[in-house]
Subunit: 345 residues, 2 copies
């Protein structure tokens, strides 16, 4: 992703909600990355305390968290927050104890947050309000093409990207006379992984590519051997009659995202620990309760493992699994905790 | 549940994987409960350290955790563990530094863990192995009718209960000549909530009834106003065109269980904070991403709330939501952390 950003002269601001880890953030820093995206103000504080000075919080401003915003202003050099259609921007401006940067969040089709791009008067109104506030710096338009996750092929992802990019550039053009310096910030992992069309875009904010996962593989944005995180789980029970294994590893560890693979609900592919081969589709997590995971597997796989053996699970959604586990072991067995291991209360 | 247990002379051993809380466990103790069920050895240690002396770990023995089992023997007076079809019981017996109690886990139809009840020779073999081990006390048969969660009415739940009870009593009868003192332990929330047929059963282990949730309501085991935990979430964005609200509250807070309600996927019902009325089915969480929850709501509900207001979400699966949140506020605003707030590494 660093190479892609360089090639297209894009600012890379990786989303650290996936890894949530200061140690992994240092791998980005070693590649010259000095700005990040996070998904909450709490997470922003964690990274600010870890030495990150340029942070975008990709979540609508929550006025209840004004104290935390003010703390963050002191801890950072550049803090970007998102204004949405309902954001009380003048109230925010009055409550701030310093300056922040504002992106307008645009809904490019995900239907989650952001201005409807057709709502020109709402957007214009917010642009002027931000410009008028002496402690708010207007940055531009930011969007997240989250609907790329509903794609089922690389071609569909590229279509979403082309439409998103056009929509954002048109919007920039619409307001160029009054606001000539608006930046465009895009950034979901599927489009950032696959597209080479970035003219007019200022920055990208992909996150999931840090690890990738089966969902990304399923929609075509990565290969299986690009998946960089697995769960090690012990087999606690074997059931010959149904070729099923039970592992200690389930909803509280993986969360509960699933994909449909070969017409069957799938919560993760599995292989034996230290197996160098990629996991086979016959061997997968078919169900999760709170602490039990049920593995459906081939006859050969069943025979090759014993109760007490470890298996590796390739997660469906690495962000949620990483969040639930609160840390990582590297290949040498060293442990790194992450934001999720902090006491949040 | 305490009254039901007394009425039917059942031992009540509530499953604390739902609440995971020492404070809530004390509410049980105040009702005369002095034994509990948990879902992991780590959770058992948390409660043992909090003064609970009689604990059943309702999860197949994991031989990798022998050190933890040995620590628990010292911390408890009665420790019950589950033997499954693949449990290396002789190896376990040799590795123990004290005595424990063993239940044979029986699969009554959930197809998760436990002996196939038809596998008489496997069951007989395990019974004899346990009896022969001087540090293992044979307790009886334990099952979890988890397939009651697939029911869609009280009548179906009662059918599952009748079949489970018959299967377990028949099994006890099959081995009564060699093993006259086998106990029967049952216990999922749906059957424990609805059934009044408990003759021959020694103990029950329901957990979810501590809070109940929309899934339990949906299958008929509780009423809406018996749901005893909700999530308070701020509204961070309003979208007039689609009558949708965005809340700060999503997959990392709720996990991702959903139910089908009126033919639509539903991640929780919502009402305004401090509203005394029960939530209406028109107002619900329709989608969850990592940190954003999308609320679909009626026109009237949409108009009645502002960005910054709090809403209460009735969770689909209270166990997973409670686990993700790691603690509770009571109605007076006092905070109680739980097992999930511990550093598990």
């Amino acid at each position: 992703m660093v190479e892609k950003a360089k090639k297209h002269q894009l600012s890379l601001r990786p989303h650290l909600k996936t890894a949530q880890s200061l140690a992994i953030a240092e791998w980005f820093r070693a590649e010259g990355v000095n700005k990040i995206t996070v998904s909450s103000l709490q997470m922003a504080e964690y990274f600010a305390d870890g030495g990150w000075k340029d942070i975008t919080v990709a979540f609508p401003i929550n006025i209840h968290e004004i104290e935390r915003i003010n703390r963050l202003i002191k801890k950072t050099e550049q803090l970007q927050l998102l204004a949405d259609e309902g954001t009380a921007i003048e109230k925010l401006s009055r409550a701030l104890n310093g300056s922040i940067n504002i992106y307008l969040k645009i809904d490019c089709g995900t239907a989650r947050t952001g201005f409807d791009p057709e709502d020109k008067s709402g957007i214009s109104d917010m642009l002027h309000k931000v410009k008028k506030s002496s402690n708010l710096n207007l940055m531009g338009f930011l969007t997240h093409a989250g609907h790329s996750y509903r794609c089922r092929s690389a071609a569909e992802i590229l279509e979403v990207h082309a439409a998103t990019k056009k929509l954002m550039l048109d919007l920039k053009e619409d307001f160029a006379s009054d606001f000539p310096n608006l930046n465009i910030s895009l950034g979901d992992t599927p489009t950032c992984s696959l597209s080479d069309e970035w003219s007019g875009v200022y920055e990208i904010r992909p996150g999931n590519f840090t690890f990738y996962d089966l969902m990304q593989h399923n929609i075509g944005s990565c290969t299986l051997n690009e998946i960089a995180v697995t769960m090690l789980c012990p087999i606690v029970s074997k059931h010959q009659k149904r070729n099923e294994l039970v592992i200690y590893g389930a909803a509280v560890h993986f969360s509960k995202d699933s994909i449909q693979l070969n017409g069957v609900q799938n919560f993760g592919l599995v292989r034996k620990y230290k197996d160098k081969n990629l996991p086979q589709s016959a061997n997968f997590v078919k169900a999760l309760s709170q602490e039990h995971g049920i593995i459906s597997c081939s006859d050969a796989f069943f025979k090759s493992v014993e109760v007490g053996d470890f298996i590796e699970v390739f997660p469906v959604h690495s962000c949620l699994t990483a969040n639930a586990m609160r840390g990582y072991y590297d290949k040498e067995g060293k442990f790194y905790d992450h934001f999720g291991s902090m006491n949040l209360h």
